[in-house]
């Protein structure tokens, strides 16, 4: 194995003039990672999708970072506090240099905060993360004040998503300038050597990195979206580590003594939305096909019955082969706002039947469960399992699955009455706001509340929460809001999936809840 890797790495060297000894030492400090999705652009302000952000995190930093447990930690800002209800003050890190040797200053921050709004023609813009800021003020080169129109607790969270670019290099730069490396000047742990779109990204260590030196001289991120190709590359020794391992291959890799597996509970929660706003939701009828007198999902007892009829342990063990944990919260255990007291609903089909009967549906009803088939881990199988479990309490379900490209447009158009969604949030209150708060386009609440669940008490609590600038107080409010909302079963929680990485036995990885794959977190043993 080792011989083969060395031979491959050697033959990879384009420069044959290198001596053998020199070549071997270069091999020792190179890390090759197989990524599971295409990186479309290295412009860190163009498209806000996980694969692009993952690549950007290698080259750039943000003011605020998140740690492996998805909690905020200092990045280019060493500290931040609210000096009054509508003003946040950020103290910047001193002595940080960009890859071109120039100093990092507050000017670069201002420039980076303003740039996303100039890239409007993007299907996933970053502008939403800076829209709360109404004024920016540089107090001194290392102190920055940001004003918001109303008290807004989430600003530090939002700033985790805004990468800081060099004003000098990025002023007037196009996406192509970032891809070519001309404008891709960050303060991050690696410098960009080469971006071969659709194929690989080559990086070199930034020796001046403020966060400590990476153990790798050179890092190659290979784009290998096909699961089989990614795993074959790892088995053949063409890459040293890969992300996103399909469930079926996890068991096989676990048993292989040449490789190590690192896992951590992901921030992604799988849940089912139920139509709670229409009197006659689509594809919902009694078993003879006749329309029902009322929408059963409007009755909290029916929602609870469905939750009780689902055997989460079986889904975790059989469908996910143990690579998930049953969910009783909208956010997974390490995340801000997770309430430990909220346990996953226990499996009790008998009680579920009684609840259905009490709600006036002793014979159950029939409906369609919609799910994507290429978006989440085992999404289609999860939907099938849920359908079978609900059949046992008399609810007849037809499962319809489709590619994500079709699915989300239909979901937004309100075509579904019972539908699967996977959700990742780095705080519980954000998840509540998006998933179960009353839909309101003016305030931005309930943007992903497909079922239109509505609870004015929850909305009021959330408003109070987002205006609370003290983190401890806010977490208490977020937990209170979660407890209040989930009592009502506004959505059916299924499980939190585990994120997995596989690597050579000689490496370790500090697995992350946010599922990002960072070269600097791989260490030789």
């Amino acid at each position: 194995m080792a011989v083969r890797t060395a031979r491959f790495a050697l033959s990879c060297l384009v420069c044959v003039a290198l001596s053998l000894a020199g070549a071997l030492s270069a091999v020792a400090a190179e890390l090759r990672i197989g990524l599971a999705a295409d990186v479309t652009s290295l412009d860190p302000h163009f498209l806000n999708v996980a694969p692009n952000n993952d690549a950007a995190w290698h080259i750039f930093d943000a003011l605020v970072h998140v740690d492996a447990n998805a909690r905020l930690i200092p990045g280019l800002a060493v500290s931040w506090r609210a000096i009054n209800p509508t003003t946040w003050e950020f103290k910047l890190r001193k002595g940080v240099k960009f890859h071109d040797g120039s100093d990092f200053t507050a000017e670069d921050v201002i420039f980076s905060l303003e740039r996303p709004a100039t890239l409007a023609a993007s299907p996933g813009p970053f502008s939403g993360f800076v829209k709360a800021i109404v004024a920016k003020k540089i107090i001194d080169p290392w102190t920055l004040q940001l004003k918001t129109a109303v008290p807004y607790a989430m600003l530090p969270y939002d700033l985790d998503s805004i990468f800081i670019v060099s004003k000098k290099a990025a002023a007037g730069a196009s996406t192509e300038d970032f891809n070519s490396g001309k404008a891709a000047i960050g303060t991050g742990p690696y410098k960009l050597l080469r971006f071969a779109r659709g194929d690989r990204i080559e990086l070199a260590r930034n020796d001046a990195y403020w966060g400590g030196k990476s153990p790798w001289d050179k890092v190659t991120l290979r784009i290998l979206p096909a699961d089989t190709a990614r795993i074959a590359a790892l088995l053949a020794g063409d890459v040293d580590a890969i992300e996103s391992i399909p469930t079926a291959d996890l068991t096989r890799l676990k048993a292989n003594p040449n490789f190590r597996l690192e896992q951590k509970v992901s921030w992604r929660t799988m849940l089912l939305h139920m139509d709670q706003y229409r009197d006659h939701p689509p594809h919902l009828a009694d078993k003879a096909g006749k329309p029902l007198a009322k929408n059963p999902f409007k009755d909290a007892r029916v929602r609870l019955a469905i939750s009780k009829a689902i055997n989460r342990k079986a889904i975790v063990e059989r469908v996910m082969e143990g690579n998930a944990i049953a969910a009783g919260n909208l956010v997974s255990p390490p995340v801000f706002g997770h309430v430990a007291a909220l346990k996953a609903e226990s499996y009790d089909p008998q009680a579920a039947k009684q609840l259905l009967a009490a709600a006036g549906f002793p014979d159950g009803f029939a409906l369609t469960l919609d799910a994507p088939n290429d978006r989440y881990v085992n999404d289609e199988q999860i939907a099938q399992a849920v359908a079978q479990m609900l059949a046992r309490i008399g609810i007849r379900i037809k499962v319809e699955t489709m590619p994500a490209s079709v699915y989300f447009a239909k979901a937004r158009a309100g075509d579904f009455s019972f539908a699967l969604l996977g959700w990742g949030s780095f705080s519980g209150d954000l998840a509540l706001r998006a998933l179960v708060a009353t839909q309101n386009a003016a305030t931005g609440y309930g943007a992903w509340n497909w079922g239109h669940y509505s609870n004015p008490k929850l909305d009021a609590l959330l408003e109070q929460d987002f205006a609370t600038l003290n983190d401890d107080k806010r977490e208490a409010l977020a937990c209170e809001a979660a407890t209040l909302a989930l009592k009502d079963t506004p959505v059916i929680l299924l499980h939190h999936q585990l994120a997995s990485w596989a690597m050579k036995k000689s490496l370790t990885y500090a697995a992350r809840t946010d599922e990002y794959t960072f070269a600097r977190d791989f260490r030789p043993r």
């Binding site: 384009v14 299907p123 891809n179 779109r197 490209s405 998006a434 931005g444």
Partner: protein, 325 residues
């Protein structure tokens, strides 16, 4: 001939226009990329703004007219996901796909015609039987499965060849190619073989059948009676006469090799157009989908035209329409 070519090209413009309309309406009916790519924390206003910024809130006919106007000026639009011109994106990936397709076609032709001839000339020998039964396997085994098998055997177990990806490229007439270095060839062997397998079997079978049929023809008997050498009988009289169906198949199949190298490209992580189109369909990146299909249709049209012209060169009796009118 010139009239024929011009008429064919005019027809192609109509085909391309119809194609663009179909794809445009199709993608519009499915949905829009904002729903797939927008950040989960985005609220309703963010989503509406993003849709409007891409012009996706306009009525379909207006979006299509805008597209047509720009297309006539040679601009097929910017990719939503990559933020660079769709045409540039595709042309950038094209050399990789063309290299793979040409390598596969070369493998198929260089192996397929001699093997087919051999099997046709000696159908009852063990070699002939082996070639023919081997070609059945090539036909019937699914590409992705053979690809995985090749990787497991040659990359994982034996470690002779890399498991995927494209080797280092160098410029040949301004086009990045990878077959000029040994490392590049090593990367090319497995995917090219995998892609060639089906075509190889097809050519073997066509050549074998054609050869057996031709051997019974009077002109072959006459050539033999004239005392021509076996090499000349087979190489000139037999081969030239059986080439017409083979050229058709090579031509048509070359188009499909380019268009449908997708499976091989994704299994072997080959950075070609196939991988790009799959990604683009997944996020409904309409400019890329439209541009890709327009290019593929153009390729098919050009290849068919080339095939027709080669016919007339191979067989003087074939007249291209227009010349006889």
């Amino acid at each position: 001939m010139a009239a024929f070519v011009i008429r064919r090209l005019l027809q192609s413009v109509l085909v391309l226009w119809l194609m663009s309309l179909l794809v445009f309406v199709g993608v519009y009916a499915i949905g829009n990329p904002v729903d797939i790519l927008i950040n989960p924390q985005a609220d309703q206003a963010d989503i509406a703004r993003a849709i409007a910024a891409l012009g996706l809130d306009q009525p379909l006919w207006q979006q299509y007219l805008t597209f047509l106007r720009q297309a006539l000026l040679g601009d097929l639009g910017k990719s939503f996901a990559y933020n660079i011109p769709a045409l540039q994106l595709i042309l950038e990936r094209m050399p990789a796909t063309l290299e793979l397709a040409l390598a596969a076609a070369a493998v198929a032709v260089l192996l397929g015609i001699p093997l087919g001839l051999w099997a046709g000339l000696a159908p009852d020998s063990w070699a002939g039987k082996l070639i023919m039964s081997g070609s059945i396997l090539g036909f019937s085994l699914p590409t992705f499965w053979v690809g995985l098998l090749l990787i497991m055997l040659f990359a994982v177990e034996l470690g002779w060849l890399p498991s995927g990806g494209r080797g280092p490229t160098s410029l040949l007439l301004g086009i990045p190619v990878s077959f000029l270095s040994w490392e590049g060839i090593r990367h090319l062997i497995l995917p090219a073989t995998n892609l060639a397998l089906f075509k190889l079997s097809l050519i073997i079978r066509l050549t074998q059948a054609g050869t057996r049929e031709a051997l019974l023809q009077d002109y072959v008997k006459f050539a033999r009676a004239k005392g021509l050498s076996n090499a000349r009988v087979v190489g000139v009289h037999v081969l030239k006469n059986i080439l017409i169906p083979i050229v058709t198949v090579i031509g048509l199949e070359f188009g499909s090799v380019i268009a449908f190298a997708i499976v091989t490209e994704s299994i072997f992580g080959w950075p070609g157009m196939g991988k790009l189109i799959i990604d683009s369909i997944n996020v409904l990146d309409r400019p890329v989908i439209v541009a890709y299909l327009l290019i593929v249709v153009s390729l098919f049209i050009l290849i068919n035209l080339a095939v027709d012209i080669v016919y007339s060169l191979l067989d003087p009796r074939v007249r291209l329409g227009g010349a006889t009118d």
